[in-house]
């Protein structure tokens, strides 16, 4: 336990909330982006999976998604605008991750990553790349945009893996 800040009470602790440490429930939809919001037209949107052997599969908006052959263990996700983020491939499989393109009955808004974003709800949300455009499959882990600047390669909120070494 760290040094005690006398007089600091904190919010009332509610035991009914199953939230990772340091997180709290929000009913709105916060926006965090490192640059301007790219405006990507669906007609020109494409999604590419590139494997470790150099094979590339490309999908246009109407085509998304089919099986890909790979022996890779890691994924580097690419986004329009240049953002990247890395995570183990197994965290993208078996329904743990989605390409999300609708929200609350409408198209996903550009500031939230529309036309389509990755959504990996069990990891910190910087892994859920907005304006997603492809996945590069790799035999060895390669850090993405924030990970290169010291953020955690995995990012489990239950273990508070914010920065390298956490």
């Amino acid at each position: 336990m760290g040094i005690v800040s006398w007089g600091f009470q904190g919010r009332s602790r509610r035991s009914d909330q199953k939230l990772p440490p340091g997180q709290y429930l929000t009913d709105d939809f916060p926006v965090l982006s490192a640059g301007p919001t790219p405006r990507v037209n669906r007609d020109r949107w494409e999604f590419v999976v590139a494997t470790e052997t150099g094979t590339r599969r490309r999908w246009t908006w109407p085509e998304l998604l089919a099986d890909v052959e790979t022996a890779a263990d890691y994924a580097l996700v690419h986004a329009y605008g240049g953002y990247t983020t890395n995570l183990p491939l197994e965290d993208l499989l078996d329904g743990q991750a989605w390409i999300a393109y609708r929200y609350d009955g409408g198209d996903l808004a550009p500031e939230h990553g529309g036309p389509a974003r990755l959504l990996v709800p069990h990891l910190y949300l910087w892994k859920s790349a907005k304006w997603v455009r492809g996945i590069q499959l790799l035999l060895e882990d390669e850090p993405g945009f924030w990970e290169t600047a010291g953020y955690h390669d995995y990012g489990d909120p239950w273990r508070e893996q914010r920065y390298q070494g956490d």
Binding site: I3, Y24, G35, T37, A149
Partner: protein, 251 residues
């Protein structure tokens, strides 16, 4: 958003350090600058932030991120904290913490929203409200480094009473132009009608896109979205525009 723009990976784990409040100054009715002494502080870049951790008597902890307001100066780190209504951490920092009190802090964090004096490109700073804090660190690092890189600051606030860092920002700094945009009440004698930031504001108080300035935009999400979109529409390369958003989850 070039990968080369961010530094190498951190070699060691970011340690929590004890920070002792050595002085404070009220910037506005709602914001206070806190100067901490942090033994072992490794230094920071202009624009980086720190994580602050408070621990209650029963062991409960709360963490928040705050931009560093100061230029690197030994073991001293200044943060400017705006009281958030119903906030958990900011009212404690701004109202309860006294000189000599200790909190915990770790950092510096973030290698994207930073300015380095070695970068010769002209700089446009666009601040909305408390978004001025990391941009102020850039102005202070510029001054500390004796840099002659031309800076323009466009600072949007509700009223003249909401301006931070007065009189420091009023002090004439050669090569630094400061323009205030008031959204609710203008200063007496000001020519611009009150209102939100517009393309005309950024055209007259910013740099032409041809100059390829480095643009830093910081503030609440709506402000940052609007200002960054305006810069793109004025022809600025999106990769030259870096943003930092103070989400509604702050406090």
């Amino acid at each position: 958003m070039a990968r080369a723009a961010v530094p190498g990976r951190l070699a060691e784990r970011l340690r929590w350090r004890v920070a002792r409040l050595v002085s404070f100054v009220d910037e506005t009715e709602a914001a206070r600058t806190l100067v901490f002494d942090v033994p072992g502080w490794p230094g920071h870049l202009a624009g980086q932030h720190v994580d602050v951790r408070l621990t209650a008597e029963d062991g409960y902890t709360a963490q928040r991120s705050y931009s560093v307001a100061s230029a690197p100066a030994g073991s001293q780190v200044a943060l400017t904290v705006q009281r958030v209504a119903d906030g958990e951490v900011s009212p404690y920092l701004a109202d309860v913490l006294e000189v000599g009190d200790q909190i915990e802090l770790r950092g510096p964090v973030g290698g994207w929203f930073v300015w380095r004096p070695e970068d010769p490109a002209p700089v446009l700073l666009v601040a909305g409200g408390s978004g001025i804090v990391p941009l102020m660190a850039m102005l202070r690092v510029r001054r500390a480094a004796g840099s002659r890189v031309p800076f323009r600051l466009v600072y949007s606030i509700r009223t003249p009473r909401d301006r931070y860092y007065q009189p420091e920002l009023r002090h004439d700094d050669p090569g630094v132009d400061v323009t205030y945009l008031y959204t609710r009440t203008a200063a007496p004698g000001g020519g611009r009608p009150v209102g939100r930031i517009s393309a005309a504001d950024l055209q007259s108080a910013g740099w032409p896109a041809d100059f390829e300035p480095a643009c830093y935009v910081c503030g609440p999400t709506g402000f940052v979205e609007a200002a960054a979109d305006l810069l793109v529409s004025l022809g600025h390369d999106p990769s030259r525009i870096r943003t930092e958003r103070f989400g509604p989850t702050g406090g």
